[in-house]
């Protein structure tokens, strides 16, 4: 299975940018302002690199990449004393470039023309020339590698809009998985509002065994699990995912077998009220691109059909991106700035995944069966919780973590790890204080991570000029049995 199959979700990766697409014959995709059909990718090995040459996919040879790298080697320190406004020194206009593209002229050729028409290129230092070339190549030559989705790659999709995943960064997600002690066969309870990214990452670490219980606020609200789709999980893995609404929690606090009946009754009540609520959600889903294609799979997962059109998320994210902070990205050429803006727009349009044109749709399956299955799984999840069979508790959501934490801790056995992630520090201070006060956590630790990337190039090594100011905060601890046991000594 090292070759790309039809139906696979794959990652297109170029530099620091990733997008996910599902492979379907005859389907056109948009990627980095280019539109092309993906048919030719099917059957190719994962890890292959392609170029878009005048709207067509062409396999890219490794040598070219290397050549490009070698161009960029020069000493710093040479001075560009005459360079102030690079843009005005270019005799070719944007219209000229567009025209060339329309005429089907290759990116390489366009760059050659740009260099010839630059008044300052020859006066630049070797280093500046290389930098210029790199920038132009990125703009005019579209080369990307097709990869199997991994949490690391999928996370890159959100790198420019971290607000969608509660500001999770690779460092914080990775700690969440490790401190949560998630492994093959784990029973994990999770609350997440990170588009399903945490859910998917957990499921992958569970390797097809164990139970993954997603706690959701209530039966009526939909939760976004969009990212789950990207991982091509086999059905057996998805069968291990459960959904449990926190508003039915009272049903599992009674310990008698009898309550199961009660619980079911409760659940029925909840479910019927859900009927009316889910209707608009389903309606909305029909214009949600290809998400309905996977609805069948999702049904068996036990969830309602889920939707990415979480408006509060988007606006929250917008708020976070437009912060009136001071750190300005250092783009020295107006043109480059322009590109960033456009990319951003596209990003928001496409939500997290890649935009897809065309693709057939299926009718929703039997809704009654779906509801029954859901109810059954919900009950199973409740039993796992009640029987204290959880191995870890993980929170990464935009809800107040404290009540969820304190409620769930009742059902967690001792010596189990708990990880609470929050994009705000204050709620975790509350949690810390409560855990400390009640003496129910060991190795209690509240932390954030300083995550820094470096440019490592000959004679030009330094931390990157831009970095992420926050990746959120983590509270970690181990549950304990606070009752003292006397033992022989």
């Amino acid at each position: 299975m090292t070759d790309i199959q039809e139906g696979d979700h794959v990652v297109f990766k170029r530099d620091g940018l990733s997008r996910v697409y599902q492979m379907r014959r005859n389907r056109e995709v948009y990627f980095e302002r280019s539109k092309f059909k993906v048919d030719d990718l099917i059957g190719q090995p994962y890890g292959s690199t392609f170029e878009i040459d005048r709207g067509k996919l062409v396999k890219f040879e490794q040598e070219k990449v290397v050549q490009l790298k070698e161009t960029i080697s020069s000493l710093p320190g040479a001075d560009n004393r005459n360079l102030l406004d690079a843009e005005s020194n270019q005799k070719m206009s944007k219209d000229d470039i567009m025209k060339m593209k329309d005429e089907g002229i290759t990116g390489e050729k366009i760059i050659e023309e740009l260099i010839e028409n630059s008044e300052t290129f020859k006066g630049k230092t070797e280093f500046s020339q290389a930098k210029y070339l790199k920038k132009k190549k990125k703009k005019h030559i579209l080369v990307f590698t097709v990869l199997r989705p991994t949490p690391r790659l999928v996370m890159e999709i959100f790198s420019k809009e971290p607000g969608k995943i509660c500001n999770l960064r690779p460092d914080t997600l990775s700690q969440l998985l490790n401190y949560g002690n998630v492994m093959y066969g784990s029973n994990v309870a999770v609350v997440e509002t990170c588009q399903g990214l945490v859910l998917a990452s957990l499921l992958q670490r569970m390797g097809g065994e164990g139970k993954l219980i997603q706690l959701v606020p209530n039966t009526s609200n939909s939760v976004c699990r969009q990212v789950m789709d990207y991982f091509n999980f086999p059905k057996e893995h998805l069968d291990n995912v459960y959904m449990f609404p926190l508003d039915t929690f009272s049903t599992i606090t009674d310990d008698t077998e009898e309550t199961d009946g009660n619980s079911a009754a409760n659940l029925n009540l909840e479910t019927s009220s859900e009927k009316t609520v889910t209707a608009p959600t389903d309606a909305a889903s029909t214009d949600g691109g290809d998400s309905s294609i996977d609805s069948k799979t999702l049904m068996t997962v036990g969830g309602v059909l889920v939707e990415s059109s979480d408006k509060s998320d988007q606006s929250e994210n917008a708020a976070l991106l437009n912060i009136p902070g001071k750190a300005a990205p250092s783009t020295d050429v107006a043109e480059a700035n322009d590109v960033t803006m456009k990319d951003n727009d596209a990003l928001i349009e496409n939500a997290a995944g890649g935009e897809v044109i065309g693709g057939k749709r299926q009718l929703p399956p039997n809704r009654d069966l779906q509801r029954q299955l859901k109810l059954q799984k919900q009950k199973e999840a409740g039993q796992i919780i009640r029987n204290k069979q959880l191995d870890s508790l993980i929170l990464a959501c935009k809800y107040n973590p404290l009540p969820i934490l304190m409620t769930m801790l009742e059902f967690l056995p001792p010596s189990r790890p708990v990880v609470v992630y929050c994009q705000y520090l204050e709620p975790l201070v509350e949690c810390y204080t409560q855990i400390k006060k009640k003496g129910i956590g060991l190795q209690l630790r509240l932390s954030e991570t300083w995550f820094r990337e470096y440019q490592v190039l000959p004679q030009r090594t330094h931390p990157l000029m831009n970095m992420s100011g926050t990746g959120g905060y983590l509270l970690t601890f181990m549950t304990v049995q606070p009752v003292i046991e006397k033992v022989q000594s």
């Binding site: 990775s174 490790n178 509240l446 300083w450 820094r452």
Partner: protein
């Protein structure tokens, strides 16, 4: 067996973590007839058998907790044979190497096995860790530890200096991790170890010069997406702070954190819950603050998350790279 799966109760042969304090944890393997001495008194191994993990154990001079080990707890309590990697870096390494159950990983060197345990948790039961160590004694110790922890079937410890002799693996692994003084010397060999369909590599180096040579060598060997990062954990202490209002505060305070006019009794009870965090110092602090109450009745009180003053400033640079279909 206690490393492979979460358990409820303690059995003979289990490795357990005796939690004596935040920075004081002892790993012990439960054996018949053995007794562990702690500063709070002795603990007979046999008396722990059958007890639930997470139990609070009364000793003669205080109590300890007995925890089931996780790789994170192990990292904080393991016997150091070398400098070790800590969980912030380890988490990043596991994540960036795309590890999951079934992954096959080559690691050099084994060191004290801090990273190895986290790798094994993630890749077992279908994966394999091939770990290499040039120091004979450390090799033996590591092998013994893995056996005691019930992990032997998932790991092969090889006594070899991979810098000189290479991994000698032919397109077998999904990921390579290098924590060696001269990682660049092993990169060609690492490339050969990685599966034809591609894989990931990570090098850990404390000095930037090592990173520079590694990056050059990675590039030469057609590794791509070369990224060098650093992760630093910044821990917070929660402190109940009380600031004197030297002028009457007629300013309405915002939603947050402030019981102005908080009296002494009220504070005392609030502070008690915090006393466990910092013992002696806080009691001094209370006294000092109480004295101030005489001159100023009004205080601004709040729980504050304060970064620890002394923090880890550097562990090492992590360089990651991909090798695509080759």
């Amino acid at each position: 067996m206690s490393f492979r799966k979460m358990k409820d109760t303690i059995d003979y042969g289990d490795t357990v973590i005796l939690h004596i304090g935040y920075d004081n944890m002892l790993p012990i393997m439960i054996a018949k007839g053995e007794t562990m001495q702690t500063k709070f008194g002795a603990v007979k191994h046999s008396s722990l058998v059958g007890k639930q993990y997470g139990t609070k154990i009364q000793c003669s001079k205080g109590w300890v907790f007995v925890l089931q080990p996780t790789p994170e707890l192990w990292t904080l309590s393991l016997p150091h044979r070398t400098q070790i990697l800590y969980s912030t870096d380890i988490s990043m390494i596991i994540f960036q190497l795309d590890l999951k159950p079934g992954s096959i990983v080559a690691e050099a060197g084994t060191g004290s096995g801090s990273l190895s345990h986290a790798i094994l948790r993630t890749i077992q039961p279908s994966g394999q860790l091939l770990t290499f160590e040039f120091h004979g004694e450390r090799c033996d110790k590591a092998r013994q530890e893995f056996a005691e922890h019930g992990l032997s079937e998932f790991v092969t410890v090889t006594h070899r200096d991979v810098c000189g002799e290479g991994f000698q693996l032919d397109h077998l692994v999904d990921a390579v991790f290098l924590d060696l003084p001269k990682p660049w010397e092993c990169i060609a060999s690492a490339k050969n170890a990685i599966k034809r369909e591609g894989g990931r590599i990570c090098t850990f180096s404390p000095c930037i010069e090592q990173v520079q040579r590694s990056c050059e060598e990675l590039s030469k060997n057609n590794f791509t997406d070369i990224v060098t990062v650093e992760c630093l954990a910044r821990n917070f202490n929660i402190q109940y702070a009380k600031l004197q209002n030297v002028l009457p505060s007629d300013v309405p305070l915002a939603a947050n954190g402030d019981s102005v006019n908080c009296g002494t009794e009220e504070d005392e009870s609030k502070q008690k819950s915090h006393k466990k965090v910092k013992k002696a110092p806080e009691s001094f602090l209370n006294k000092a603050q109480d004295n101030q109450v005489k001159t100023a009745v009004h205080n601004y009180c709040f729980s504050s998350a304060i970064p620890t003053i002394a923090m880890q400033g550097h562990t090492g640079f992590l360089t990651f790279a991909s090798l695509y279909y080759h």
